[in-house]
């Protein structure tokens, strides 16, 4: 059976709201409008305005209210129309949600999910196209998840809602409409994925490629192209950015001896940078080539289509980097 990511998220929300009356959804346009991206379609009708709450466009206010409700023991799911707008509320995510358990020596727990589309969208310019994975993942106290497929979306969102800690759940607008095959197990209402565990999407032996969210799809496409050239790439879908599955990444690199990290976010201090550091620290002796990083260009997102394409990783970038790691690429003329 095939399922769209949008349906996967919607069904996960629906099932968790049905299973636990403490779960409620709040955010801009989640109710009567049925969700800016229709993720919450039908939920207002099913659960009523007490549990599906349309908020004004005031992120700091409603995020603080969500966190306060979690202090009391409810399980809020706070939707950001996009994670760009979470910047208005980042103080509550970092200072009010992530740190309270620690500061109170465990008295206050914060079972909340902050979710919404993250990363580069299409043609919306710099303020609506940014990946915040490395921002949130740098903060202890938060768990940060990034689903790729419908299986990921269902399993990770259900895990996030059931988890007793604050979870930042980074979706991708451009994946909402994509369909993926799902098994009967994935469709079962008890289905849940473990937080902190990466998934090997494709096994390989020559080079490890790590990616998350939309870039997993690109990495898989790159792997197919590489296979034609006789390069066997292992694709790791990180799923969880914090905790980061260092053991899985290191085990893979120890097998392949080569690493390419892929992400849409800015390169400096990015998720790839952290993965590189982990490999250098733990598996330096196993490397046969320098680590390669593919990331968003180090510029604010431009609007013009040709520039935008240059600002986000493309499949050919991943292929080139993997070949370089395997000593099979020719240097680009422009770079000489």
């Amino acid at each position: 059976k095939q399922m769209m990511v949008r349906e996967a998220l919607n069904s996960a929300l629906d099932e968790e709201m049905s299973a636990d009356p403490k779960v409620f959804l709040m955010g801009e346009e989640v109710g009567e409008y049925q969700g800016a991206y229709k993720i919450s379609k039908g939920l207002l009708e099913k659960y009523g305005p007490e549990r599906v709450l349309d908020t004004p466009i005031t992120e700091a206010g409603f995020t603080g209210i969500g966190v306060g409700a979690a202090y009391y023991g409810l399980k809020p799911v706070v939707e950001f129309m996009t994670f760009n707008f979470s910047m208005q509320a980042i103080d509550h995510i970092i200072n009010s949600a992530a740190k309270s358990c620690y500061m109170s020596a465990g008295q206050i727990s914060v079972p909340i999910v902050f979710r919404g589309p993250n990363g580069a969208a299409a043609g919306v310019g710099a303020q609506h196209s940014q990946c915040y994975a490395s921002w949130y993942a740098s903060c202890p106290g938060l768990k940060v998840l990034a689903p790729y497929s419908s299986e990921d979306a269902r399993g990770l969102l259900k895990a996030a809602i059931r988890d007793p800690d604050p979870v930042v759940f980074l979706e991708n607008e451009l994946l909402y409409g994509e369909s993926f095959p799902v098994s009967a197990e994935v469709l079962d209402s008890s289905f849940c994925l473990p937080i902190g565990k990466a998934k090997i999407e494709r096994e390989g032996k020559d080079v490890t490629i790590t990616a998350f969210s939309k870039m997993v799809g690109y990495a898989l496409k790159a792997a197919e192209i590489l296979a034609k050239d006789g390069i066997s790439a292992e694709i790791i879908n990180l799923r969880s950015i914090r905790p980061l599955d260092r053991p899985a990444i290191n085990a893979s690199v120890r097998k392949t001896s080569r690493l390419v990290t892929v992400e849409e976010g800015f390169p400096q201090h990015g998720v790839g940078a952290e993965i590189c550091a982990s490999i250098i620290e733990e598996s330096f002796g196993y490397l046969d080539a320098p680590v390669e990083r593919i990331a968003g260009a180090d510029v604010p997102m431009p609007y013009a289509a040709n520039l935008e394409r240059m600002a986000v990783p493309q499949v050919e970038d991943i292929v080139r980097a993997a070949k370089r790691a395997c000593y099979r690429s020719k240097p680009m003329a422009a770079a000489q």
Partner: protein, 363 residues
């Protein structure tokens, strides 16, 4: 001391905005008045002792003292129950004690010891007592107001028929997120009371230099408000009782407590560059919350001057004992560095400064 009812007038009338103010006649009894005296004197002594401990370098970092403002903490508790929630700023020592926190927990926390209410991991600004509805202790100015509205949301959602008091200072009263949260609270009829403890200075900035309108009880516009003499514990009690009933039926209200802090903003502030010594001593002489209750007790012959002095001596001893005991409390175990990062750490590895030397599996 008896619990025979006694009615006492508040020192000043309430001023209201968009609501009928409560009566100035406050129902109380001798036992309550004596407890007001004892509790406020304990808080006062505790804060003065914290000042000394800070100067002796036994307390680190920030330390914001509450002396002068005690009537707010004590009067509020008299008007509500422990099922109601309170959330406040970093000036939280006395609010914690009002909720039933002990002196030992206070001093242990201030000195960063295991016996502290946050096991030494929170510090002066991060006291909590969830079992008595106290949700902290927040260090970011104004952030506790939306959080408090969230607590009230959860109370209403759970049909608990209880309310939340969200306390903030006149400095925080200008924060944008306060108005965002108030708007939502009014839209959703949340049972939240915004309590502006107006001590007239946000750090060193006088209220009129920070607020175009320092009439904080009116700043909710469409939300009713009440200005209260925050130096009169009985007026605070009356206002909080009134506010609790109001919000359960009609949604949020603002209480502006006109109060005063004798200390500077924090320990690094002598509190004398932006206000005059005369102003401070004038408040002490004319409006001090403890002296006011002392006068009421004496005027009604509920205790003798001697008995009140004896209370104060006892309190001094209690505070000294708590400090001595707190000093005996050990520092947190090094292993505590890695606890409480998460409720469920999922067995993730976390690292110390030198990750090859210090690493731990999160519980």
């Amino acid at each position: 001391t008896s619990t025979d009812p006694l009615t006492i007038e508040t020192s000043l009338p309430f001023t209201s905005h968009n609501c009928e103010p409560p009566s100035r006649s406050v129902e109380t009894n001798p036992q309550e008045l004596i407890s007001f005296f004892r509790d406020m004197a304990t808080m006062r002594r505790m804060e003065i002792a914290a000042d000394s401990l800070y100067k002796a370098k036994l307390i680190r970092g920030f330390c914001h003292l509450y002396d002068g403002q005690e009537a707010v903490a004590v009067g509020m508790e008299a008007g509500i129950t422990k099922k109601d929630c309170i959330i406040t700023s970093y000036r939280d020592h006395c609010t914690f004690v009002g909720r039933g926190g002990t002196l030992l927990e206070v001093f242990s926390e201030l000195m960063g010891r295991q016996g502290g209410c946050s096991k030494g991991k929170g510090g002066s600004m991060h006291f909590y007592k969830k079992d008595a509805g106290f949700y902290g202790g927040h260090g970011i100015v104004g952030a506790q107001v939306p959080l408090g509205c969230g607590l009230a949301f959860a109370q209403k959602y759970s049909k608990d028929e209880t309310v939340t008091f969200a306390l903030y200072g006149d400095g925080a009263a200008n924060q944008g997120q306060l108005f965002e949260a108030l708007n939502i609270s009014a839209l959703w009829d949340l049972p939240v009371i915004l309590v502006c403890e107006n001590n007239h200075y946000g750090m060193g900035t006088a209220e009129w230099r920070a607020a175009k309108s320092p009439a904080y009880y009116k700043r909710g516009d469409y939300v009713p408000g009440l200005k209260v003499d925050g130096m009169d514990a009985l007026a605070v009690k009356q206002a909080c009782k009134f506010a609790k009933e109001h919000v359960l039926r009609k949604g949020p209200i603002i209480l502006e407590m006109d109060t005063y802090r004798y200390h500077g903003h924090s320990m690094s502030d002598p509190g004398s560059t932006y206000r005059t010594r005369d102003e401070i001593s004038g408040v002490r002489q004319e409006r001090d919350p403890i002296e006011r209750i002392r006068k009421v007790i004496l005027a009604h012959d509920l205790a003798t001057e001697r008995e009140l002095k004896d209370f104060e001596k006892e309190i001094r001893k209690e505070v000294d004992q708590a400090i001595a005991q707190a000093k005996e409390s050990p520092m947190p175990e090094p292993s505590e560095l890695f606890t409480n990062v998460y409720v469920k750490g999922l067995g993730t590895e976390a690292f110390g400064a030198d990750r090859k030397e210090v690493r731990a599996v999160l519980p």
